[in-house]
């Protein structure tokens, strides 16, 4: 028996920062950055290339994210993540349904690219895997002066 990656369970996103304005938004249009931690319970090291993922809430797309050079080592791994999200859609979701600013995020792999080449053998695997996690964007909103308690709802 070999220990596998178990659907990347335990993946978590932290240190969310919302970027706004020309000064902050990255050259590729990324308007949200964060750290992503991926535990690797196996003894395998994997170079997965540049990984992009689609982000959705309740099945509705809210953006996409990139983890550059995802070189997964055994044990704990932390990578910077840059994301292009529909900030208005996120605010709308918080206002209408997720008043505590905790979004049930659905992350599905999209592409794996190394040296400009698609690595279909990794793409096939990550495309068929959905990671669900609750992402608290409250602190990131507070950082840019948006207080979620001022939103309606309960």
């Amino acid at each position: 028996m070999l220990v596998g990656l178990n659907k990347l369970s335990g993946l978590n996103i932290s240190d969310v920062r919302i970027l706004s304005g020309q000064d902050e938004i990255l050259s590729d249009g990324s308007n949200l950055i964060a750290n992503v931690s991926i535990p690797n319970p196996s003894v395998m090291t994997l170079d997965l290339g540049n990984i992009t993922m689609n982000l959705a809430v309740d099945g509705t797309a809210i953006g996409y994210a990139l983890i550059p050079d995802l070189y997964l080592k055994p044990g704990d791994n932390v990578f910077p993540l840059q994301s292009h999200v529909d900030q208005l859609a996120i605010l709308g979701l918080i206002q209408s349904k997720y008043n505590d600013a905790v979004l049930p995020l659905e992350i599905v792999g999209n592409s794996s690219i190394k040296d400009g080449q698609h690595l279909t053998y990794y793409e096939d695997a990550i495309k068929s895997n959905t990671i669900n996690l609750n992402l608290d964007v409250g602190p990131a909103l507070a950082d840019i002066g948006i207080n979620i308690t001022s939103f309606g709802g309960s």
Partner: protein, 159 residues
């Protein structure tokens, strides 16, 4: 003389090869580390550190051989070259080579299994020759299910 040969030859040509095959079959192969790097569209660089454990009192030389790696019941996703080794109670063998996928479809199935599963089974299959001094070369089948411990187990064993 003929009587002696009738007794001795079956031992050399049948008994000992059967015993050798049995010893190979009862040895275990554990992967202690695996690195899949330099990913290309048709292959990767693969480094696998293994420990082969055998309770045999014989310590034959095992020829280098080509082995297929596969998921249970599937065709191999890659072939690797296992280097020549002298069998001991614990033999460390490292495979460190560029490999081309034997089948893109099978390699995709393998990466999917690695990502999706808590544990997976990988089969390693090949044929090789073993040499024990004074005896004719013996052909053996080398069929193993690879074991690989998880991180927690690994760090535990180092303490």
């Amino acid at each position: 003389m003929i009587i002696v040969l009738v007794i001795v030859l079956p031992i050399i040509f049948v008994g000992i090869p059967n015993k050798a095959q049995h010893e190979i079959n009862s040895s275990t192969l554990e992967v202690t580390a695996q690195e899949v790097t330099n990913p290309q569209s048709n292959g990767v660089h693969l480094k696998i550190d293994t420990v082969i454990r055998s309770g045999s009192s014989y310590h034959p030389k095992i020829d280098s051989f080509k082995a297929g790696l596969s998921l249970p019941g599937q065709d191999p996703f890659i072939y690797i070259t296992i280097p020549e080794a002298k069998s001991e109670a614990e033999t460390r063998v490292t495979v460190d080579q560029d490999v081309i996928f034997a089948s893109d479809v099978e390699f995709s199935s393998y990466t999917k299994a690695v990502l999706d599963s808590e544990t997976i089974q990988i089969h390693l299959d090949g044929k090789t020759n073993i040499h024990l001094s004074g005896l004719p070369t013996m052909d053996v089948d080398y069929n193993k299910v690879i074991t690989m411990k998880g991180m927690s187990h690994c760090s535990y064993s180092k303490n």
